[in-house]
């Protein structure tokens, strides 16, 4: 197998999933209400600091794609509104949404998510289904990476671009999804998992001082952005 090395867990990784969910949701909601670029910049700045602390590294290609996407959004908005400030705010709002998702997705492992969800009134089976979906995307991303490598090795022998995408990516990925579902169902049952049954917990989740500090910092950022929007400069 082609391996990636371990990345160390940061303070953001150790936060309670609900803390991260709450901050992500509040910031996304607030971003919808704000319309001054500077106010949105405060929220975005906070999110970028969190991503940096969490050591979420983006490749130059990913930065380029995000930049391109936001440029297209703001350009289209400018063409419709002829208002630079509005177009900038629109793109920044998207940027806040885009940063809120990876903070939760890339710094929360499925076990933490299972435990957090098991503390809610959700049925056990539904919680497990959510976890498997949570795991499904990174696994499929890894499968897709290997399929891309196989496609690279085949080169033009695999036919035109459309055929390469269809036969080289879509068909194997579809088989992979079916295979994953079959295997995971069997593996879950073999390990004694029953959706409705009570389970013990290896490492119970607890909110700690870091959660309080993180929430307070997020609250401060939200207040500053609101002040900039409605009182400010």
């Amino acid at each position: 197998m082609f391996l990636h090395q371990d990345t160390p867990a940061t303070i953001i990784h150790r936060l309670h999933p609900f803390t991260k969910m709450a901050v992500g949701t509040v910031f996304s909601g607030l971003a919808l209400c704000l319309y001054r670029p500077l106010a949105l910049a405060v929220l975005l700045g906070f999110m970028l600091v969190v991503l940096a602390v969490a050591r979420v590294r983006l490749s130059p290609r990913q930065w380029f794609s995000i930049g391109l996407f936001l440029s297209v959004i703001s350009t289209l908005n400018f063409l419709a509104s002829h208002d630079t400030c509005h177009a900038t705010a629109y793109a920044m709002r998207f940027a806040v949404f885009l940063t809120a998702v990876p903070i939760l997705a890339l710094t929360t492992d499925p076990r933490q998510m299972t435990q957090a969800l098991s503390q809610t009134p959700l049925p056990g089976g539904l919680a497990m289904a959510l976890i498997l979906v949570w795991r499904f995307f990174p696994l499929m991303a890894e499968e897709a990476r290997q399929m891309r490598q196989a496609a690279l090795l085949r080169g033009s022998a695999a036919g035109g671009v459309a055929m390469r995408i269809y036969r080289g990516m879509l068909v194997p990925l579809a088989f992979c999804v079916i295979d994953y579902t079959d295997r995971i169902t069997l593996a879950l049952e073999l390990r004694g998992f029953t959706p409705a049954q009570r389970r013990t917990c290896h490492r119970p989740l607890k909110a700690g001082a870091a959660d309080v500090v993180f929430s307070a910092a997020a609250l401060l950022a939200a207040i500053v952005s609101a002040w900039v929007q409605w009182e400010g400069f």
Binding site: L3, Q149, A150, R154, F175, Y180, G192, R198, T200, H202
Partner: protein
């Protein structure tokens, strides 16, 4: 401990039986090897014992099975899991968590083991498989062999009285295989009943008290073990086809290199075998040779192309890479099309199919083949293109002795016709048969023999 009476099974939509009137008894504390050629019904038997058949996989099941003196009829898979631990054949896609410790804890949590006992059981089970150093690793960063060890540890932590292991040696290096066999021997002496479904009869026959040999779904007298294969012939080595010059490689966010300043050459007509422990970087080295990964330092020349200066598809016109997992390389609707793609003619297709025991499967969908057949198909597709160099990653997984002999014979012809071969394997017999020379990756360096 296990009693099987008149067991027959036919998969839904299949015309012939996968198992036919199978009968055997296994006593408590016995270690039994279940072997046989690919498609003989080993995995089917395992799936019946763990109740996946008929509860999850439909078909016509006849006969009776008792485990721990109780009939297993009517039990669900998870009820059966309390009595019998089952290690699935393929270690991919069987994990639910991110970290090794959490993965082992997952089963314990399902069995409602008190949290204060979990840490001890996790550490103890990892110690048994010599995997204590993996405790806090992320599963995504483990090699197939390391993952196999973790899954075995997860099974041992549950402490069932009966263990059924499907191809547990598949990805283990020689040292890990020896440790595994010794561990199983020790556990069986402590009273665990162990069934091992494995092609590698040579590695287990000396330890197993008994062997059940299946052919076409029936128990038959076991043939002799192939302890070695006919070695590929020596040819006069010519020009250099693959060269690594002071190559170092490290993962993006790691200071320590996986290997440093590696230099070696592989010449035309030569077959070199890459050896090394699980996770030592054999597959990564092959990725580097094809340009699928970038070295931190050094120069790699593959088939006269400097890697990094030309595209991967340009390199792959002259060199072929057969992956460890064949599924990613199969993309055509028919077996014959998989080999024919590119400029390969019909004769070459039939020649390769015959040489690798795939005759009669031309019209089958490649995904419907067994794992061993898929591996042979990806190799056939590579050979048919007549590349100058073939990089072959773990060719023996899922192959019975006869299939493996076919592969080695065909690779010998490839070398004779001017080909060059670099093979990564854990299978000692394959290494012995294929190696003109070996390169062992060890502690970030290499040793040539």
């Amino acid at each position: 401990m296990i009693r099987v009476c008149g067991l027959s099974f036919r998969y839904a939509n299949q015309s012939s039986n996968a198992l036919r009137h199978v009968e055997f008894d296994i006593r408590a504390g016995e270690m039994v090897l279940v072997s046989g050629p690919t498609g003989c019904g080993k995995s089917t038997l395992g799936l019946i014992l763990c109740r996946a058949i008929p509860t999850l996989i439909p078909g016509d099941l006849a006969g009776r099975v008792w485990v721990n003196d109780k009939s297993i009829e009517g039990l669900s898979v998870r009820e059966m899991a309390r009595e019998l631990g089952f290690l699935l054949q393929n270690v991919e896609h069987q994990t639910f968590t991110e970290r090794v410790s959490d993965e082992i804890a997952f089963g314990l949590e399902n069995f409602c083991v008190p949290p204060e006992h979990m840490a001890t059981r996790i550490e103890e089970s990892l110690r048994l498989v010599q995997g204590s150093h993996l405790l806090n690793r992320r599963l995504a960063t483990l090699s197939a062999g390391e993952r196999q060890r973790v899954m075995l540890a997860a099974l041992l932590a549950l402490n069932q009285r009966v263990l059924v292991l499907d191809e547990p040696l598949a990805y283990l290096d020689l040292e890990a295989q020896e440790r595994f066999v010794t561990l199983m021997d020790r556990l069986s002496k402590k009273g665990k009943t162990i069934l091992i479904f494995e092609h590698r009869r040579d590695a287990l026959q000396a330890f197993a008290q008994r062997e059940i040999y299946l052919t076409d779904g029936c128990i038959r007298p076991e043939p002799c073990v192939w302890s070695q294969f006919k070695k590929v012939r020596d040819y006069k080595a010519k020009s250099t086809v693959l060269a690594f010059e002071d190559v170092s490689f490290a993962w993006g966010n790691h200071k320590d290199p996986l290997f440093a300043d590696i230099s070696f050459e592989v010449k035309q007509h030569e077959s070199v075998v890459l050896l090394g422990e699980n996770g030592s970087g054999k597959t990564t080295l092959m990725h580097l040779a094809m340009g699928l990964a970038k070295p931190c330092r050094g120069r790699i020349i593959t088939c006269d192309h400097e890697v990094g200066r030309v595209s991967v598809s340009q390199i792959s016109r002259k060199a072929a890479y057969v992956f460890q997992r064949p599924d990613h390389q199969l993309y055509q609707p028919y077996v014959q099309d998989e080999i024919r793609s590119g400029s390969v003619d019909g004769d070459a297709v039939h020649r390769e199919l015959a040489a690798l025991g795939l005759e009669g499967l031309e019209k089958r969908h490649p995904r419907s083949l067994s794992m061993g057949q898929k591996r042979r198909l990806t190799l056939a597709a590579a050979l048919a293109r007549q590349p100058k160099l073939i990089l072959l990653d773990e060719p023996s997984v899922g192959q019975d002795d006869a299939s493996l002999a076919m592969i080695i014979r065909r690779l010998d012809d490839f070398l004779r016709d001017g080909g060059t071969l670099l093979t990564a394997t854990h299978d000692f017999r394959v290494a012995m048969a294929l190696a003109h020379r070996t390169i062992e990756l060890k502690s970030g360096g290499m040793e040539q023999r």
